[in-house]
């Protein structure tokens, strides 16, 4: 139980409204606030949204104090700093900024503090309100702040020299700054042997790009660049497509739209019903559409493969971005073929390169090249070889481990 002293009546009001006990003493200009409140809430449960096979399984809950305790349990350093902000004129939500002094760059802390203090809104019902206020590049579809429900992931972020923001009432935590590579890494990469992490990360990178490009490449190959497909395969595909009334672009857009609708229905429906809906959707509708000659079997395979590929990205924000990008790429492929896809690809990469998350280039460590950070980008070096913290966050204390084992 913690206690704070205050001389302001405003703080006393806030404390009483927040369920705290206040102790006044005659003749003393100071009031003592005791944290005696106990709000109804969940207990700590398993991480549902970021499941892993190995590693810790605890997840954050809606209680900020409990969440901070979950972090503190893993990081017992006296340098752990927690700064509280009260945001929301009516909700009076407490937002905690967590960092490790001596590791995190002080200018980063200042920047985040100044952004947080600029938030001026009547209510913070979810972390996203704060996130949209403080994030860079507000018009991009790519996430620039990492979110996680796993306390140990927050701790590893803090040890990299990053900052965590815990918002009361949200079972998630923001970790910032974030780079593109971060959204392709899974916490599990660090819990398994490093030799296995490399192929898995490679797979995820390939899957990310194919979830964006696969339907577009298929459409442009069938519409403009048939010469790139080996002859036996092109014969097979064209025989499948015989009698299908739509151009490949419309076929693709139709199937992708249907797939997205099913996916959305699957999330909205209660869990038990949702699964059956997605099974009915994919199997029955797909099969029937092929039988009826509306779409070709090849297209079903491509759209399904794209869906699977997009689910390999561990971060939900990135998955949503790829879902949207697919459509743009398919439209471009339908009009300009592979060349259109390539041009849009350049534009996409330039866009990614133009994003910064709290001063850190989004494509770091590849663009700009920071060779020491490549140890934890595409590959993961063994722990005993990652002696330095990532340079992209410019930590104060660069050393993480002392030399090789």
């Amino acid at each position: 139980m913690s206690m704070t002293a205050t001389e302001k009546l405003d703080d006393v009001v806030t404390a009483v409204l927040g369920g705290k006990a206040v102790l006044f003493q005659d003749g003393l200009g100071t009031a003592f606030i005791w944290d005696v409140e106990s709000w109804p809430g969940r207990q700590v449960e398993r991480a549902e949204n970021e499941p892993t096979l190995q590693g810790p399984q605890e997840a954050f809950v809606e209680n900020r104090v409990l969440n901070i305790a979950l972090v503190r349990k893993r990081l017992r350093s006296p340098d752990l700093r927690i700064l509280d902000f009260t945001i929301g004129e009516r909700t009076r939500t407490t937002v905690s900024l967590v960092y490790v002094e001596g590791i995190t760059k002080p200018r980063l802390v200042q920047e985040v503090c100044s952004r947080l203090s600029k938030v001026c809104i009547d209510g913070v019902v979810d972390m996203n309100v704060v996130r949209e206020w403080i994030a860079d590049a507000p018009r991009t579809i790519f996430p620039t702040i990492e979110e996680t429900e796993r306390p140990e992931r927050v701790v590893s972020g803090l040890l990299q020299g990053r900052i965590a923001i815990i918002v009361d009432g949200t079972p998630m935590c923001m970790v910032l700054p974030a780079t593109f590579a971060q959204f392709i890494t899974s916490p599990e990469d660090y819990y398994m042997h490093y030799t296995l992490a490399l192929p898995l990360r490679l797979l995820r990178h390939i899957m990310f790009w194919s979830s964006v490009l696969l339907p577009a490449v298929y459409v442009s190959l069938l519409t403009y660049n048939q010469d790139l497909i080996p002859t036996p395969l092109v014969q097979k595909i064209s025989s499948q497509r015989a009698g299908i009334p739509f151009p490949t672009v419309f076929e693709a857009l139709f199937m992708m739209f249907a797939f997205e609708a099913l996916r959305e229905a699957g999330t909205r429906l209660p869990r038990a019903v949702g699964q059956s809906v997605s099974i009915v959707g994919t199997l029955v509708i797909g099969e029937a559409a092929v039988r009826a000659g509306i779409v070709s079997a090849g297209m079903i395979i491509i759209v399904a493969a794209t869906g699977i590929a997009s689910f390999t990205a561990p971060a939900l924000g990135m998955v949503q971005a790829t879902r949207l990008l697919q459509f743009v790429f398919v439209l471009c492929a339908g009009v300009f073929g592979l060349y259109g896809v390539a041009i849009l690809g350049i534009v996409l990469i330039v866009h990614l390169a133009s994003i910064r998350s709290f001063g850190v280039p989004y494509l770091a460590p590849v663009g700009p090249t920071l060779l020491t950070d490549w140890k934890d980008a595409l590959v993961r070096a063994p722990w005993w070889d990652m002696g330095r913290r990532p340079q992209e966050y410019e930590p104060m204390d660069r050393k993480r481990a002392r030399g090789r084992r």
Binding site: Y224, N225, D227, L228, P230, T231, P232, V335, F336, G337, L338, Y339, G340, A342, I343, L344, I346, V347, I349, V350, H351, L352, A353, S354, P361, L363, V366, G367, P368, T369
Partner: protein
């Protein structure tokens, strides 16, 4: 506004794309027009042109370590004549941009989309180049860095695969008709593509270490020379005299490659790589033009100029050069002296004017 800066590595990459963009398409066909067996001897002229650019860059960064070409012109020639010189410089960059934009539309329509109107191709090209110029040099340089690992995997493959078809006898006899054809073949790569490196001087305020610019130009020039040399050796080695009848010898080179039944007709992939470098080249030219216009209009930012001038560049490309022959004539017969005059002549004019103004002022002070 935060100053956008790029590192030396990023600059070298940009400069390599700048020559390779269209150079890899045009230089082999221009050189083989004059000589086939000795074509490889004409390639080092690109390096000589790069040295010339580096020399000019050296003079520039010594005198004006944080000004662009257009800023330096203003500083040397005074505001009235300086503005005229800037207009000339911007117009030259614009014309170079129209040539490259026309090469872009021609390349895409000829190689991949014969039934799509050139306007549509120009629109998508213009949109992407304008976007890149809009986000600025720093992000673009970072995106380039991101592409490099991919290029590093693809490029050796594209070079190694045709090697099996190469025939050394295509290079004999050496000096089949003397030095003159080699000299003539060298001119375009020396004075058009070599002098294009001097566009980097327009980027001086955005360089993290401007004093190293001449060295960076030399490094970029040598790398591009080696790459183009490999391409010319391969095309001549594979095709021999047939190379004269090919529109894009490099594409045909990739087209003949096949391994087994599945790896064949790789020219589309190669075309995409070329397309990316052309876009990159166009973006640098566009940025140079917009920053020149910024100096002309004395505004703080160049971004307002991106859309109108970019569109004008692409439409100008379509309008100025109605067919391949007109464009090829322009590159070969107008380009060398046009760029030589602009890159060497105009700065010299500026420096002379500075001298004259200096003396006039001193005389006026003495007289008064």
């Amino acid at each position: 506004m935060r100053k956008e800066q790029i590192s030396r590595y990023q600059l070298i990459l940009l400069l390599i794309w700048l020559t390779m963009g269209t150079g890899v398409l045009v230089i082999p066909s221009v050189i083989t027009e004059f000589t086939v067996t000795d074509a490889w001897m004409a390639v080092p002229s690109l390096f000589v042109g790069g040295l010339l650019s580096a020399g000019i860059a050296r003079v520039h960064v010594k005198k004006f370590p944080n000004l662009r070409v257009t800023g330096a012109l203003l500083a040397t020639a005074g505001s009235a004549i300086g503005n005229v010189l800037i207009i000339w410089y911007v117009s030259v960059v614009f014309v170079v941009g129209t040539v490259v934009a026309r090469e872009f539309t021609l390349f895409v329509t000829m190689v991949s989309l014969p039934y799509t109107s050139e306007t549509a191709v120009a629109v998508i090209g213009c949109a992407s180049v304008a976007y890149i110029a809009y986000v600025g040099i720093e992000s673009f340089a970072r995106a380039n860095e991101f592409i490099v690992p991919l290029a590093a995997v693809v490029l050796p493959l594209l070079i190694l695969l045709p090697l099996t078809l190469c025939d050394v006898h295509q290079f004999y006899p050496v000096f089949s008709s003397g030095w003159l054809p080699v000299w003539k073949a060298s001119i375009v790569s020396m004075f058009v593509y070599g002098l294009e490196f001097s566009l980097a001087i327009q980027l001086v305020p955005n360089l993290r270490s401007p004093e190293k610019l001449p060295n960076d130009i030399v490094i970029a020039a040598s790398i591009s020379t080696v790459l183009i040399l490999i391409v010319v050796l391969l095309t001549v080695g594979v095709f021999g005299y047939t190379v004269r009848y090919l529109q894009y010898p490099v594409l045909e080179l990739i087209r003949v490659v096949r391994i087994g039944r599945f790896i064949e007709r790789l020219d589309t992939i190669y075309g995409i790589a070329v397309l990316m470098t052309i876009i990159s080249k166009l973006a640098v030219i566009h940025l140079a033009m917009c920053t020149g216009i910024q100096d002309l209009c004395k505004t703080r930012d160049y971004r307002w100029a991106v859309l109108p001038t970019g569109t004008a560049m692409f439409v100008g490309g379509l309008y100025f050069y109605r067919n391949v022959a007109q464009m090829a004539y322009f590159i070969e017969h107008v380009g060398p002296s046009y760029l030589l005059f602009t890159v060497v002549g105009v700065p010299l004019l500026g420096l002379t004017l500075q001298r004259v103004r200096f003396h006039l002022k001193r005389r006026a002070r003495k007289g008064g």
